[in-house]
């Protein structure tokens, strides 16, 4: 336990040193990966701990991302004018639901609240009806498909497949300067650490124990007098919230948000980051997100055609040979080395449908 804490502390300190060592470009990249680490963490909570595999996490990620990007786009648009894509698509007035996003406070609240509410609503619809396992996965996947279809179809309002682009200032700061890159990186890191600690507190509370118990034996917990669906809904909403924050941060770092970043294949890719590192471990989720994205960046610049093969192979590898992920595989070894008598970890394969 202690060892694990030290490792995680060291990892965060190393992450904090990134801007001192790397070029501005790489810092920006690292910042993106950290932003994505949050969505990985969100999946680790809902899937690894809660046993609810969402293949539609892109939905919440996208809600958060779009909420912030809408604000940024409005800031980038001269007063009295329409955002460029609306103009090109022949809109004459700003839709009413765009208006409030002029306010940065509103936008930032929306980043947190929209995905949380939506996830809670979806959770109610699904978990109250006792829909479980692979049904949940397929339904969330269908929903993210519906969401992406909507985004693509409603071009005048959402900029369609192009996504929202061309924004450069946030709270009056120019996003493109190297100084801001560094600041944004630190801000992201701080946010990730905060979310990590928050999630840890969430999971080590009594709530977290009940959630874990529900994953393994929902009926048993129900007959101990718990309304298990409430617990699942709350965990799912919390996971949605983290995904939304992740999306907003990503939109800031990347300078654009588009349907391709959240569609079904991306949503399932999020899951693989988590599965690769170890689905039950929050730190593992961060590791997985950073690792796979780093790989992706390197491989896709070297062999642009090859990345998809590697990615496909990764899915198979993780599912067939490493269901516990890197952390889950290494942890027993580590604890053997450092602490001969540690209670064995629970089997991971329990949460299967």
């Amino acid at each position: 336990m202690l060892l694990k804490r030290i490792l995680i502390g060291v990892a965060f300190i190393l992450l904090a040193c990134v801007p001192l060592v790397f070029s501005s470009y790489n810092v920006g990249l690292m910042g993106q990966f950290l932003a994505l680490a949050l969505v990985a963490m969100s999946i680790s909570i809902s899937w690894g701990i809660g046993g609810m595999l969402s293949l539609g996490q892109g939905l919440f990620f996208g809600l958060g991302g779009y909420a912030l990007a809408m604000h940024l786009k409005l800031v980038a648009t001269p007063k009295g004018e329409l955002p460029d894509f609306m103009f090109y698509n022949g809109l004459e007035h700003m839709p009413w639901w765009w208006e409030p996003f002029t306010n940065p406070g509103f936008a930032m609240c929306a980043v947190v609240i929209l995905p949380t509410l939506f996830a809670a609503f979806l959770g109610m619809v699904v978990f109250k009806r006792r829909i479980t396992g692979v049904y949940v996965s397929l339904i969330t996947q269908a929903l993210v498909l519906a969401f992406v279809t909507l985004l693509n179809g409603a071009q005048p309002y959402t900029s369609g497949t192009n996504g929202i682009t061309d924004y450069h200032t946030f709270l009056g700061i120019d996003l493109r300067t190297p100084e801001f890159r560094n600041q944004l990186y630190f801000a992201t890191l701080v946010l990730v650490v905060l979310c990590y600690l928050g999630a840890k507190a969430f999971l080590t509370s009594h709530f977290g124990k009940v959630l874990l118990a529900i994953r393994d034996n929902e009926n048993r917990v129900r007959f101990l007098g718990y309304d298990t669906s409430d617990y699942k809904i709350v965990a799912f909403a919390f996971s949605g919230m983290l995904a939304g924050i992740s999306g907003a941060l990503y939109a800031l770092h990347k300078g654009t948000i588009s349907p391709q970043m959240i569609d079904t294949s991306h949503s399932i890719l999020f899951v693989v980051w988590v599965a690769l590192a170890g689905r039950q471990s929050l730190g593992g989720a961060i590791l997985g997100a950073v690792l796979v994205n780093f790989l992706q960046d390197k491989i896709s610049t070297l062999f642009p055609e090859g990345w998809l093969y590697v990615m496909g192979g990764l899915f198979v590898l993780v599912a067939v040979y490493m269901p516990k992920g890197i952390i889950g595989t290494l942890e027993p070894l580590l604890s053997k080395v450092f602490k001969p008598k540690l209670s064995p970890r629970v089997e991971l394969q329990k949460e299967q449908a």
């Binding site: 009940v210 118990a213 129900r222 007959f223 329990k350």
Partner: protein, 254 residues
């Protein structure tokens, strides 16, 4: 005095097969009751119906005079009914202590679990019940590492620690040694008066030890009810156990 729990004319059918058929049953406050019956008699289904796992097609379940057959499971449990399942169902991902911590919580709402602190009496309650079932040393081991008998004890402890008014124990002694069985009987007897206990078991030696009134279920209906002595001497009960009364039973059903 009105009974603590009453089943009125309960019918449960699975795809047309009536697992319970117009069953009437009641248990008073503080009473211990044995329920026996051949395999498939509907004993587990009766418990399932009380606790809300199975919904009756017909009939009422009254607990303290209140209809509960439509309440959701956690609410039924919240009224003070605890259930031990036939198949051991401890939470294997957690330690023995954590299992009990989950069971002991009074306020089981999510916000209380998330923001509330555990009440001070909880730790004492857990310790007490661990003492009762003799699992104090194993407090911090993983539930998955317990032996079958120990898992049974843990499950009983999880029911006890909730301090329910009514305990439903489905074959609590399965997989226990003779000594453990005797201990269980003593434990259950000590509960009488304060709690009502409904015990299902096949093990005749356990039934003898408990020396409680016995209800015999057969083909989904109440077949006989009486003191242990009466039931033991009843030839029709012996027959259904030996399967000879099969035809008779079917007549009775039709």
């Amino acid at each position: 005095m009105s009974p603590l729990l009453e089943l009125q004319d309960i019918t449960v059918s699975f795809d047309g097969f009536k697992a319970l058929n117009s069953l009437n049953f009641s248990i008073a406050a503080g009473e211990i009751r044995m329920v026996i019956g051949p395999n498939g008699a509907g004993k587990s289904t009766m418990c399932d119906t009380i606790i809300g796992k199975v919904r009756p097609q017909h009939g009422k379940v009254l607990f303290e005079g209140r209809e509960i057959q439509k309440l959701s499971e956690h609410k039924i449990v919240g009224l003070g009914i605890g259930r031990k399942f036939q198949a051991p169902g401890v939470l294997e991902a957690l330690t023995v202590k954590e299992n009990l911590q989950i069971a002991v919580r009074r306020n089981k709402q999510w916000y209380s679990s998330l923001f509330g602190r555990s009440a001070t009496h909880e730790a004492d309650d857990i310790e007490q019940v661990l003492n009762q079932v003799g699992l104090l040393e194993k407090m911090d081991s993983n539930a998955s590492q317990l032996s079958h008998g120990e898992k049974q004890w843990l499950e009983i402890a999880m029911v006890l620690v909730q301090k329910p008014k009514l305990l439903l124990l489905d074959e609590p002694t399965a997989g226990m040694t003779a000594q453990e069985t005797a201990q269980t009987a003593t434990l259950l007897q000590s509960l009488a008066g304060e709690h009502s206990v409904l015990v299902i078991d096949h093990d005749m030696s356990f039934v003898e030890l408990l020396a409680a009134p016995v209800t015999v279920l057969h083909m989904g209906t109440l077949f006989k009810q009486g003191s242990l002595q009466e039931i033991r001497d009843d030839s029709s009960v012996q027959e259904i156990y030996l399967g000879r009364a099969k035809q008779e039973g079917e007549h009775a059903r039709a």
